[in-house]
Symmetry: C2
DNA sequence: TAGCGTAATGTTGGATCCAATCAACGGCCG
DNA sequence: CGGCCGTTGATTGGATCCAACATTACGCTA
């Protein structure tokens, strides 16, 4: 009855890249959808039909349903009762919202973490900065940036705070392309990264937090200006 | 085969108190479990068997499964693959974690909200302070406290930030009883509330935030001392 | 008797089936 | 000719059924 699904879909590549061994199908579907959304392969507004997703990912509708519920709780998709799920829209307002959250959480995590950072954690962060210097792919760039920030916060304790910070840091990946497009070169971010690590390494939490706040404010500005320019040009 | 379930359960009262009309069974189950956990009727560590919950709430296992997934994303239950769900434990460390998050989010929300508060919102907050003065029930006290705080933040914009703040403010309800037990009288909190509202009403965001931070630090201290005293006495 | 391996049981995860709801289309009436 | 209402199709929500996994208990063996 129904023809084979369109063989070209943002999800096909994902199904192939099933690196880890997933314990449950729900976890697999959640990870696949989350990655596809964060990396921009599923743009905002894309309707997510359960049956189609199930077919493409090779599972039944049920793990899809449960995964959509979890993604809804993470604000990555919007679920309307009896009407289905759509990928959450991105917008200047949402970017500002996200940055307000990051601006609140991450300085707090950094302040808690700085005095407790171990030598290994500092070395790990330094290695991630180096890796970012030579990473051309924006997708991996987002991953490295996320890992670097989380490495600095890792000693904070407070697992829920860290999980929240990581979740919203990951959500920022959806805006990463705009960020890179807005600031011609991301070297400035790397300067911030190095300065932040240096301050944290010498235990100067105040200085590290100040740099981080400037870093976030700068990124927020860049994205806001990018959105403003885009909306001005497209209408 | 199986006898009727134990007629006395923390969930029975919940099923009866189905005030709003739930659009889906999943929403109903989620709200019922969330309220039962936050109000302490389901203590930490309680195993949540899907079939038993389904029977008690008068639905099948499926909405229970979806609700558990959403509660897992909110850190209210822990789900172990193939082993089931248990109510997340409370602890001094978790309370500190929660307060670190509140301490990060709420001052940010208040700072954004203060200059934009409307007359109605201020009046609403004032009314909630009055209501708290005469509320004897701890459960409703938590609700009023939550509503008051959110009323102050309501003008912040940034819906995701507000949703996060509300979620973690609600999670604090699990520790409310300890809080009330720790500080003999909650009048001091009410003083903070009044001072905060006054500062916000005159547009003094710095003062309001300072009071809020002290308010949260004081509450965190009280709970930490309560846990310390309890662990010292019980072992 | 202690330890290990196996089988039985209960619980969750996944698939399929059915019912309820929403959206769109078409017909009817004003 | 336009707007309202009923009907149809598609999609989700819910229920039931089956399979996989984990735990426990039991029995065998050393």
């Amino acid at each position: 009855m129904k023809p084979a699904p369109d063989p070209v879909s943002p999800l096909d590549s994902l199904a192939a890249a099933a690196g880890p061994r997933w314990r449950t199908a729900t976890e697999f579907v959640e990870a696949a959808l989350k990655a596809a959304i964060l990396e921009g392969r599923l743009p905002g507004g894309t309707p997510l039909r359960q049956e189609e997703l199930a077919e493409r990912l090779g599972v039944s509708r049920m793990p899809v349903r449960e995964a959509l519920r979890q993604l809804e709780a993470q604000a990555l998709v919007e679920v309307l009762p009896h009407r289905g799920a759509v990928v959450a829209e991105i917008s200047a307002a949402d970017a500002a919202d996200l940055f307000a959250i990051r601006r609140a959480l991450e300085p707090a995590a950094l302040r808690l973490s700085t005095p407790r950072l171990t030598q290994e954690q500092r070395a790990h962060a330094a290695a991630l900065i180096e890796a970012m210097d030579t990473e051309p792919d924006p997708g991996r760039m987002g991953l490295l940036n996320r890992q670097f920030h989380m490495a600095l916060y890792a000693a904070a304790g407070h697992p829920r705070l860290l999980a929240l910070a990581e979740q919203h840091l990951a959500a920022f990946d959806r805006y990463l392309r705009f960020h890179l497009a807005a600031q011609g070169r991301e070297r400035m971010a790397q300067q911030d990264h190095r300065a932040m690590l240096a301050a944290a390494a010498r235990g100067d939490a105040d200085a590290a937090v100040t740099i981080l706040e400037g870093h976030l404010d700068h990124a927020a500005d860049a994205i806001a200006r990018f959105f403003a320019a885009r909306s001005a040009s497209t209408r």
